[in-house]
């Protein structure tokens, strides 16, 4: 079995993880304290596992395929998918790169944390300059801000909304995926490396 040249196996593995990621997109938790168009899901988990086991490029590929597959049934005309794709990259790329340089448990932990922080931090400019301006083509900016004010009346600009809600939310999402990766990785690592 291990005589496989690796490339085909890597390709198929990445594809399978993308399929799992797409399925996991449907298993979402709705979260209290957030406007209802924001959902928590753990579909970054297969991407992170791909990034750790087959390199950062595989992680990025999982993010891409997952969102392409979801495009066929998109409810946002592709905007949500685009956002998810970029945020996914912000998470798995740094995490994978850190782990690649230091392939220990500590390396994996640092990688996860760096990934979660970078995803949370980059979500701010990404949402502010790119995603929300597109959303505002469907909903007035006043309405978007008001929908946040219903939950927390003190916010009065989009920047504050994002800083108070989206950034911590994204960070928690990253941490959640990191915790699950740690809980899972040891159990599935033998199968990933073809010894199961």
């Amino acid at each position: 079995m291990n005589k496989l040249t690796g490339n085909t196996r890597k390709l198929v593995m990445t594809a399978m993880l993308s399929a799992v990621a797409t399925v996991l997109m449907f298993v979402d938790f709705s979260v209290p304290f957030m406007p209802n168009y924001i959902k928590m899901d753990i579909s970054e988990l297969p991407a992170l596992i791909a990034s750790f086991s087959m390199g950062p490029a595989a992680g990025v590929a999982v993010c891409l395929i997952k969102n392409l597959a979801n495009l066929f049934r998109s409810q946002t005309g592709g905007i949500g998918e685009l956002c998810n794709f970029f945020l996914g990259i912000c998470f798995v790329l740094p995490a994978g790169l850190v782990y690649k340089m230091n392939k220990t448990k500590k390396g994996a932990l640092t990688g996860c944390l760096v990934g979660a922080v970078s995803m949370a931090a980059l979500s701010l400019p990404l949402n502010y300059f790119f995603i929300y301006p597109i959303y505002s083509k469907f909903m007035s900016m006043e309405a978007i801000i008001k929908s946040y004010q219903i939950i927390f009346p003190k916010v009065n600009s989009l920047f504050e909304c994002l800083l108070i809600f989206n950034v911590p939310f994204t960070f928690i999402k990253g941490l959640l995926v990191a915790i699950l990766t740690f809980a899972l990785y040891k159990k599935i690592a033998p199968v990933i490396h073809g010894k199961g």
Partner: protein, 269 residues
């Protein structure tokens, strides 16, 4: 059972079904841009006529288009209500007790956005109704080919996409089965904090991932046994080709773009 239908392909033999997927993808992209360009209701009238023509000639029952809209009905109503009440302008009505105001520009804005969202979704679902995901992936591969010169692995992406599309229903079913099996053993997925619920996912995720990797191994062996060696020099059974249907598509794209631009300049409604 989780309702996972990737793509909403409605088999048929209409002129739109027969169009080349590349034409349809490019057309849809252009259509999305045009939707954002429209700045008055006359433009939407043009889009409406066009969409009507697409729906009729696609021979997909109209109820399917509405079914697609139904899934986001709540989001649409929510958006419309917010736009209606929260857009500043000349107040024309104030709700008793609540003190929320409806302004003239609020009504205009809410209607405008509702049209934009509806037309965007109907237009994009026309693509997925008339093109199967696999054919769409083929089209994407062709369209991405020029980018492979700058390092985009067009063939690999399309191949992974095809494999993923094949296995998504399988894994959805498997997830469902594992969930039921663990519930039968007393697992609880519905209560507790986010962390607790996430932890409850582990007994589902482990068998899911292990199953996925086993299948990956089997498929990789099967592919290598059939001498799969990447996209270089690979030929395909079904060649994509342009036909007269694509010329109609191209012509209507030009017409709709011109019409919308004319409406934008000359109409003030």
């Amino acid at each position: 059972m989780m309702d996972i239908t990737i793509g909403q392909f409605f088999p048929g033999d209409s002129i739109i079904h027969r169009m080349d997927p590349r034409t349809k993808i490019l057309f849809t992209m252009l259509y999305m841009i045009v939707i954002f360009l429209v700045n008055n209701f006359a433009g939407f009238a043009v889009i409406f006529l066009f969409i009507l023509a697409v729906i009729v000639s696609s021979r997909v029952p109209v109820k399917y288009y509405f079914k697609g809209l139904k899934t986001i009905l709540i989001l649409m109503l929510f958006t419309a209500l917010f736009n209606l009440f929260l857009t500043p302008g000349n107040t024309i009505y104030t709700l008793p007790y609540l003190g929320w105001t409806i302004s003239d520009s609020g009504i205009r804005f809410a209607a405008f956005m509702l049209f934009r969202l509806t037309f965007l979704l109907i237009g994009t679902s026309a693509l997925t109704f008339t093109t199967s995901p696999v054919v769409l992936t083929d089209g994407l591969e062709y369209l991405m080919r020029p980018f492979s010169k700058i390092g985009v692995p067009a063939h690999e992406i399309a191949m992974m996409m095809t494999i993923a599309l094949r296995f998504i229903p399988t894994f959805a079913e498997e997830t469902d089965r594992i969930k039921k099996a663990q519930s039968a053993r007393g697992a609880d997925f519905e209560s507790g904090s986010i962390l607790k619920r996430a932890k409850a996912m582990v007994p589902i995720l482990v068998p899911l991932f292990v199953g996925a990797f086993r299948r990956a191994d089997d498929l990789a062996i099967a592919m290598e046994a059939r001498c799969y060696r990447g996209g270089e020099g690979r030929t395909s059974l079904k060649q994509l080709s342009f036909s007269y249907a694509d010329i109609y598509g191209l012509a209507s794209a030009a017409i709709i773009l011109t019409a919308v631009i004319i409406c934008n300049i000359y109409s003030h409604f």
